[in-house]
């Protein structure tokens, strides 16, 4: 995805691609193998060993990246993951690790963070699609009798089970606060949902008066909005990177088909109707790669335009991904309508990616607000 990738980045990416090929090729995606708890644990542990969940954590907390820009390194891993429609809350776990390293208590950093990075424990970010044009949370936390009582619902939580740590933002009297919710917390229920995307599992998480001690706070009460904005931007960039990986792979499949499929005595890719469509898709893919790398570089180096760049990338690639998947479907024709063919896996994934962590319209509005319009 990045022509300027360093040798260290290439080593990381090659190892990641090998792991994916061995542990979870497309056949496993179809079997939805990740729903098996043992399989998920094994996958997570191996991914942790590769450093998948350590890139956004500083070295003195046991993390470390390979290029000096952890967001870019994680995005490059995301690109490899997206190409093969990998499961596991990659963006979510990285966001939780990032939040703990940026604002977590000593106890959270010492007890939870290492387990997340190694893949021994799982974590996800409990989110809903951002409502309206604000970043307000759909969960509230009331402080009473020395504890916080969380109420509300998060509806777009990825690959979560009862053994999973959850990071959740909640509206408190003094602003927005973030909490780290331990697995097995009473009055927190996880309801698995069926979804368009079959490469991942989504759930609705309900907080029905769940009690959390102040030690569950991540950072200062009421002061989470700055960190939340950054989490949202990083999650956007990692999702964009996964989308670009999926787009790239699906485009290659489609291009090959256009060269192989014969109609009217010649490969269908020789017809300008198909050729021009593929050229436009290729341009869109190149621009998507360019904007994904630009956003990861900008956000990861704190160059002053990272939040805007992340939203721009999410808006651009969200639309480009869905458009590309639709066009691939058209070029495959009838075979694309079958369960057996892989194209629908990509269509499902890319359409869901576009909605995750803010859809294109939301990010365009966010760009306006960040630009003081």
């Amino acid at each position: 995805m990045d022509f300027d990738a360093t040798d260290d980045q290439k080593v990381l990416l090659e190892a990641s691609a090998r792991f994916i090929q061995q542990a979870y090729p497309l056949g496993r995606v179809r079997e939805r193998a990740y729903r098996d708890v043992a399989c998920a644990a094994d996958y997570r542990r191996q991914a942790g060993e590769l450093g998948w969940f350590s890139m956004l954590v500083p070295e003195d907390l046991g993390g470390g990246n390979v290029s000096g820009n952890g967001v870019l390194d994680a995005a490059l891993i995301g690109y490899k993951r997206g190409a093969m429609l990998q499961p596991a809350p990659f963006a979510g776990t990285n966001i939780v690790a990032y939040a703990l390293s940026a604002a977590g208590s000593q106890e959270q950093r010492e007890k939870v963070l290492p387990a997340l990075m190694s893949g021994q424990a799982s974590a996800s970010w409990a989110i809903s699609p951002p409502a309206g044009h604000t970043m307000e949370s759909s969960v509230t936390a009331e402080f009473k009798g020395g504890a916080y009582r969380l109420s509300g619902c998060k509806t777009f939580v990825q690959d979560v089970d009862e053994f999973c740590w959850l990071l959740v933002a909640a509206a408190t009297d003094d602003g927005v606060s973030q909490f780290l919710v331990p697995p097995g917390t009473p009055a927190v229920t996880v309801a698995a949902l069926d979804s368009l995307d079959i490469s991942r599992q989504f759930a609705e998480v309900r907080f029905e008066g769940a009690q959390l001690p102040p030690t569950a706070l991540v950072g200062t009460a009421g002061k989470a909005s700055g960190l939340l904005a950054r989490q949202c931007a990083i999650a956007a960039v990692l999702t964009v990177a996964e989308s670009v990986g999926a787009m790239d792979h699906e485009f290659e499949m489609t291009l090959q088909y256009a060269k192989d499929r014969i109609a009217f005595g010649r490969p269908i890719g020789s017809f300008q109707a198909i050729k021009h469509l593929l050229a436009d898709m290729s341009l869109s893919l190149e621009m998507s790669k360019a904007i994904a790398v630009a956003a990861a570089k900008s956000l990861g180096t704190d160059d002053g335009y990272g939040l805007e760049a992340a939203s721009m990338a999410k808006a651009f690639v969200g639309e480009a991904g869905v458009e590309l998947a639709q066009n691939c479907f058209q070029i495959f024709g009838g075979i694309g309508f079958t369960w057996e063919h892989d194209q629908h896996l990509y269509l499902r994934r890319l359409t869901t990616d576009a909605a995750l962590f803010g859809d294109p319209a939301w990010h365009r509005e966010r760009l306006c607000q960040l630009s003081n319009l």
Partner: protein, 419 residues
């Protein structure tokens, strides 16, 4: 041939000092409306004087060979000079200047004879010869190899007859690089030759074309027994297509150093200004459109960086890759121009007479399609990407294997059969 070696930092220092001592600073870097550039004779004269000054100091043709009047340094030195000189008033020959110093001069370097280059190149670099392109014809644009201007050999000279069009700046250029057919009995790509034609030549009529926006930047020409001497042939006789290939690469922006463009970091300032004027900044449809335009600008800028990195990363030249930049521009410029008109409504469509700022949205709207048609249509870029980058097979060709004279005789009655 002596070669000068000077490292980039040292060169930058030298350039900086010379610029400060010899040139005027530009007053404003405000973006201008995308009007088709046309230059008055006074402006051209000023630019010629300025170009001469650069030439005498060794800053014209920095990466051109010394024996042809250049400085013999690298493309990186050229870029340093562009970066440093961006803040100064530089020669501006309009669009004809842009093609003279890139597409024309570069393709001459690649294909013209040493004696031709010794004769013309120093004059080009010193501003004495501004060149334009006699390229397209009324009946041949995208199908450039299908041109019908005829050059007939007459001893040691050639007689040219035909018509040319879309020649930017021909009304103030000194010379034209003219493509003509020199053999009609071979397939179309194999009978083409380039000539250097003086714009003062007898039998040549140049007429400006009034364009869609009322301006005249392009011209059309009629060549009526125009005489050109044999030593003004550029490249080999009947091998003109090879020169054309080089020229198209530069024309589409590959290998061109290009102006220094900054990453767009301010939300579409022109559109925001228009939305404020129209009191529509709270309208979510308008906000979405503004964001969309800026995001496209940002993505296009980074596409350019990506193309440059891709070319750097490859050991082989990949001319077709430049088509991505051209197609992006041809795709997004018309969209952006439409967005402005949609946001502004009457504010973009009406203005008090002479209000240049207010009229630019309508002018941009009319000119927004320039990049999707000029210098290779979007469709030609798609063919280039499809065939030369993605490796898709070509459409069957009716005309590329048979003699051109036969092609034009039969084209109107084509029966749908290939070969």
């Amino acid at each position: 041939m002596s070669t000068e070696t000077i490292d980039l930092d040292e060169f930058r220092k030298e350039v900086r000092a010379w610029l400060a001592a010899n040139l005027k600073r530009r007053r404003s870097s405000a973006p201008q409306a995308a009007r088709t550039e046309t230059k008055t004779p006074e402006e051209i004269a000023e630019s010629r004087a300025l170009q001469r000054k650069l030439f005498d100091a060794g800053y014209a043709g920095i990466s051109f060979p010394r024996e042809y009047g250049g400085r013999g340094l690298s493309a990186a030195h050229e870029r340093v000079f562009r970066e440093e000189s961006a803040a100064y008033v530089m020669p501006d020959f309009g669009a004809a200047g842009a093609v003279t110093f890139s597409a024309i001069a570069r393709s001459m370097l690649a294909h013209a004879s040493p004696s031709f280059l010794r004769r013309h190149m120093p004059k080009i670099l010193s501003g004495e010869e501004i060149w334009c392109q006699f390229y397209s014809e009324p009946a041949a644009g995208s199908d450039l190899a299908g041109i019908r201007t005829r050059a007939t050999r007459d001893g040691d000279r050639w007689i040219i007859n035909g018509a040319k069009i879309w020649s930017t700046g021909a009304h103030y250029a000194d010379f034209a690089m003219c493509l003509a057919r020199t053999d009609w009995e071979v397939p179309k790509h194999r009978g083409l030759t380039w000539f250097a034609v003086s714009t003062k030549a007898e039998g040549l009529t140049i007429r400006p074309i009034v364009q869609i926006d009322g301006e005249a930047g392009f011209c059309q020409e009629f060549l009526d027994d125009v005489v050109v001497s044999s030593d003004e042939v550029i490249g080999e006789v009947n091998q003109g297509w090879a020169v054309a290939q080089t020229m198209l690469v530069y024309e589409r922006g590959a290998g061109q150093v290009g102006p220094v463009v900054l990453e767009p970091r301010t939300l579409a300032p022109d559109l925001v200004a228009l939305a404020r004027k129209a009191r529509r900044t709270d309208d979510s449809i308008v906000r979405q459109s503004i964001a969309r335009a800026h995001i496209n600008d940002y993505a296009q800028y980074h596409l350019g960086r990506r193309i440059a990195a891709r070319l750097r990363a490859s050991d082989q030249p990949q001319p077709a890759v430049a088509a991505y930049g051209k197609l992006a521009s041809g795709t997004f410029s018309p969209i952006r121009a439409r967005i402005a008109v949609e946001i502004g409504g009457p504010e973009a469509l009406l203005w008090h007479p002479g209000d240049q700022r207010a009229m630019r949205y309508s002018i941009n709207y009319l000119n927004g399609r320039m990049t999707s048609i000029a210098a290779g249509t979007n469709e030609m870029q798609r063919n280039g990407i499809g065939e030369r980058v993605l490796g898709l097979p070509r459409e069957p060709s009716f005309d590329s294997r048979r003699p051109f004279s036969e092609v034009i005789a039969k084209a109107r009655n084509w029966d749908g059969q290939v070969g």
